[in-house]
């Protein structure tokens, strides 16, 4: 399975090539990938439902305890099926929607990469892998929101989404690390199997706050909700897939995952139910402000995400049932509605619902799909959305804390959601025809199959909740969320109770709101000045503040003068090392002096050349004396039998002198630039640095805190690594990962130097010297 998911990334990389090969049918070829995974998940479902979670292990870095292990339980199965089934629909749909786009290969690439990341996220067992896939979904979402990169607004929205979710990602990382430290287990399965209660742990509160920040930013909870409506700058298939059905539910997924271990405390209940209910109300309230069909849907998605969070906060068995049911219902009808919105936009050329009307005769199939999906959104029986809404009310009524608040918020949210549903299902399709930028006609088949399938699902699961094993799947998922096995039987009719009465009342009020929507909008526009001061203004302010701060600190710290950089670096080093060596450990000076004559000579040469280099007035003299110092150091290495270091030092020194000679003639003459006060300052910093290094070496020499690892290396280099040169064995075997990192650093430094020199070269001498530019291929050289 892991391999299959990773193959998704390979497929993503190949997508542009496949597009050249298959052209218009690429989306169908690519859709095979999610379809096959969906089939596999279906085949696994009975086993998981009957026998409990399945662990698919794949060791990655066992010495660090990192493995690419997948955990397949009811919850990941439900999410996995959502991702793959809706993914299939969306891919087919995108093939029609973006048919004539010139850059569709890049679109497929990002979408496939997202799909693979999202699958990895919901199946990951290790906390580290979960985090990596989490961040990958943020990156791919960024690429998809900014798909139309020539559009300033799209770029800005993409960056906003990225910043908000990445900021949350950082908090999430901190939270996951704390979770790992607190439980001493870095995998979800191990954490679940633990005896100790994490809720009692001292790290519980900071850990929870960090995890919640991560989840709330990703799932667009108030006050981080503002990025989601802006993300509608993405092409509509992306909105349908990422920003309603899957990615924004990642945060919800994480909360559901952790609910059995971390849920149920007053903090959890309080934050989740209040934030969730607030998000629900605000999302629904903001939705009816808008006439842009995608914005309407985006805000109603925020409302749904709030509902899911609230249900997790309530935490009763009823709430869990409601959670999984609402999750499934929402993904289906919202995915379908977004694709309907895409059809409208594609065929009429406008996204404004008030500019559309009377389209039903022209787009009969789209109208039907819209009606079915919207009825599910509104929660009208016998659609699946009705069951979800019913359970939601029931759960809110059964909440132990904040009951009245949750019930009122949920009710008001439902009223406005029903208005939204009516606006989308009725406004564009009935009433008088308006003139639209394009002459509308029915969308092509590829753009109807996906939404039609999802709408059919909404109808079928509503009428017969047992088909396709939905009931069993939801039971298993709800069991995974609550942490203990549950029994669910969904049905349309629970008898006349308070929830049903609320449903009926909300339907009536919602329809009324729809009738007077235009008036309501006019009145609501009075609130515009207040709206502008929302969280988004805070985000903008913060961003401007960060830019101003970084400009300020760049002016101070990175002003381009080498002497400044060195001064700052040395002072910081002195402060940090000095602090720990002088205050935290006392410097140890107990050592035996056993100095040989030749050692004194070498050290004396070194000191003299260093002194000469600082005092001389000739540049060449300074270079030569620094060179002498370097060769003396090489001599020290040789004296203390480290031939490899000695050779390296010699060679590096030789090359350094050559490089210095090459630049020597380009430098100006020595001149006095600093005042004597500055010279005293520089001198004292240098002296302090020298003393500090001396103390550091002496202390390191005398303390013996840990057993030296060199014994192990000496003993094992020949038998294990087949090499007698321990230095080399360390470089290429024991510590090969470090060396690999250093190679990259070296390469980066070299490329930086080459680029800087060539850039100067290109700007300074516009007269193209003959032959000198023969191999310059960098873009800035052109």
């Amino acid at each position: 399975m892991q391999f299959t998911v990773l193959m998704g990334f390979v497929l993503a990389a190949l997508a542009p090539m496949l597009h050249r090969r298959f052209a218009g049918r690429t989306s169908l070829v690519l859709a095979l990938f999610p379809a096959l995974i969906a089939a596999w998940l279906f085949s696994q479902a009975p086993m998981v439902i009957d026998n409990g979670p399945v662990l698919l292990e794949w060791q990655w870095v066992p010495s660090l305890g990192i493995s690419l292990t997948f955990l397949l339980d009811g919850l990941s199965l439900l999410f996995g099926l959502l991702i793959t089934v809706i993914g299939t629909c969306v891919l087919v749909y995108a093939g029609g929607y973006l048919k004539d786009h010139h850059d569709i290969g890049r679109f497929y690439m990002a979408l496939m990469a997202f799909m693979a990341s999202m699958l990895g996220l919901v199946m990951a067992d290790g906390l580290v892998t979960l985090f990596i896939f989490w961040e990958l979904t943020s990156i791919t979402s960024y690429l998809l929101i900014g798909f139309n990169h020539a559009d300033l607004q799209a770029r800005k929205s993409a960056r906003q989404g990225l910043f908000v979710t990445f900021a949350g990602g950082l908090a999430l990382m901190a939270g996951l690390v704390m979770l790992g430290v607190a439980s001493d287990a870095w995998s979800l399965a191990d954490i679940r199997a633990m005896e100790t209660d994490l809720r009692e742990h001292a790290l519980y509160t900071p850990m929870l706050v960090c995890l919640l920040l991560g989840a709330f930013t990703k799932s667009a909870q108030f006050p981080f909700h503002f990025w989601l409506p802006n993300a509608m700058a993405a092409p509509t298939p992306v909105s349908a897939y990422l920003h309603s059905a899957t990615m924004v539910k990642a945060g919800i997924y994480l909360l559901a995952r952790l609910q059995p271990e971390l849920g149920g405390t007053p903090l959890w209940i309080g934050v989740l139910s209040v934030v969730g209910a607030t998000t629900l109300l605000i999302g629904a309230f903001l939705a009816i402000h808008h006439t842009n069909v995608k914005k309407l849907l985006a805000y109603s998605t925020i409302m749904a995400l709030g509902t899911l969070t609230m249900l997790l906060g309530i935490g009763t068995e009823y709430a869990m049932t409601a959670f999984v049911t609402f999750l499934l219902a929402h993904s289906m009808y919202k995915g379908a509605l977004f694709m309907v919105a895409g059809n409208l936009d594609h065929e009429t050329g406008t996204k404004d619902v008030t500019a559309m009307g009377g389209l039903r005769p022209l787009m009969p199939v789209t109208a039907m799909i819209a009606l079915a999906a919207a009825l599910s959104l509104a929660g009208v029986p016998p659609l699946f959305g009705f069951i979800g809404k019913e359970l939601k009310f029931e759960a809110a009524l059964g909440a132990a804390d904040y009951r009245s608040l949750l019930v009122i918020f949920a009710f008001l949210g439902a009223v406005m959601t029903i208005a939204v549903a009516a606006i989308i299902a009725l406004r564009p399709f009935y009433g008088t025809r308006h003139q639209t930028p394009k002459a509308p006609h029915e969308a092509p088949l590829s753009m109807l199959i996906g939404p039609a399938l999802l709408s059919l699902g909404s109808i079928a699961f509503g009428i017969a909740p047992g088909v396709l094993g939905v009931n069993a799947l939801l039971t298993s998922a709800a069991g995974a969320v609550s942490g203990e096995p549950m029994e669910i039987t969904l049905s349309l009719w629970y008898g006349v109770n308070l929830a049903l009465i609320m449903s009926v009342a909300s339907l009536a009020l919602g329809f009324l709101l729809f009738k007077y929507w235009d008036d309501a909008r006019a009145r609501l526009s009075l609130l515009a000045p207040v709206m502008r001061r929302g969280p988004e203004a805070g985000y903008e302010g913060l961003l401007n503040g960060i830019v101003a701060f970084s400009e300020w600190q760049t002016r101070i710290l990175q002003n381009g003068y080498m002497r400044n950089y060195i001064l700052i670096m040395l002072v910081v080093l002195i402060a940090l090392i000095g602090n720990s060596i002088l205050l935290r450990h006392s410097p140890l000076l107990a050592f035996d002096l056993d100095v040989r004559f030749h050692e004194v000579i070498v050290v004396g040469t070194m000191t003299m050349s260093a002194l000469f280099a600082t005092l001389t007035r000739s540049r060449l003299g300074a270079v030569v004396s620094v060179g002498i110092m370097g060769f003396s150091i090489a001599l020290v290495f040789v004296l203390f039998s480290a031939p490899d270091l000695g050779i390296t030092q010699l060679l590096v020194e030789t090359l350094t002198v050559i490089l210095l000679v090459l630049v020597l003639f380009r430098l100006p003459r020595f001149s006095h630039l600093s005042t004597s006060l500055e010279r005293i300052r520089d001198g004292s910093v240098a002296a302090m640095m020298g003393i500090l290094i001396f103390l550091l070496i002496m202390t390191a020499w005398s303390i013996d805190q840990f057993e030296s690892i060199s014994t192990y290396m000496v003993e094992n280099s020949a038998p294990l690594a087949y090499g007698r040169n321990i230095v080399n064995v360390i470089l290429v075997d024991y510590r090969a990962l470090d060396t690999l990192g250093e190679m990259f650093v070296l390469a980066l430094a070299a490329i930086g130097v080459i680029a800087m020199l060539k850039l100067r070269h290109a700007t300074e001498s516009p007269k193209t010297a003959e032959g000198s530019k023969s191999d310059t291929q960098e873009p800035y050289d052109g």
């Binding site: 490899d644 390296t648 380009r666 990259f744 130097v753």
Partner: protein, 143 residues
């Protein structure tokens, strides 16, 4: 300015560079058991090329290097470094575990650390001569 072309330097460079290159390969191959290794060998080879650069200038050195751009050497070096850590996967061992094979006829021990070391060699070589060449090219254009 760095003036190329005294007779002694030219003659010496012509003979020393191939010697240095051979020596660098020698250092590279024996590095696992005796003093040497990819880093040192890369520096020795870079020293050879630098000598040649000083004696004959950039254009002549580029001819010696034929089509190879020092920047490509860096890339190939990094690639070899990355490639060498992969075979362990196929042996069902953790990433980066060293693999050893003996080539039968010449009784030569091939291994992923050797591939890795060759990567280090090329990256060092490419970096150093890339930087020196860039510096000298700046020099050459000076009025």
């Amino acid at each position: 300015m760095v003036k190329s072309g005294t007779i002694i330097l030219n003659t010496a460079a012509r003979f020393l560079m191939p010697l240095q290159l051979m020596f660098s390969v020698f250092l590279l191959l024996r590095g696992h058991d005796e003093p040497g290794g990819g880093f040192i060998a890369g520096l020795v080879a870079a020293g050879g090329f630098t000598l040649y650069l000083l004696a004959f200038g950039v254009r002549a050195t580029k001819q010696v290097l034929r089509m190879v751009d020092p920047r490509d050497l860096i890339g190939v070096g990094l690639l070899l470094g990355m490639v060498s850590v992969v075979p362990a996967w196929f042996m069902d061992q953790p990433f980066l575990t060293a693999q050893w094979w003996t080539i039968p006829v010449i009784d030569f021990k091939a291994s992923t650390p050797l591939i890795f070391d060759i990567g280090v060699y090329l990256a060092v070589l490419g970096s150093v001569i890339g930087m020196v060449m860039a510096l000298m090219e700046v020099d050459k254009d000076e009025p």
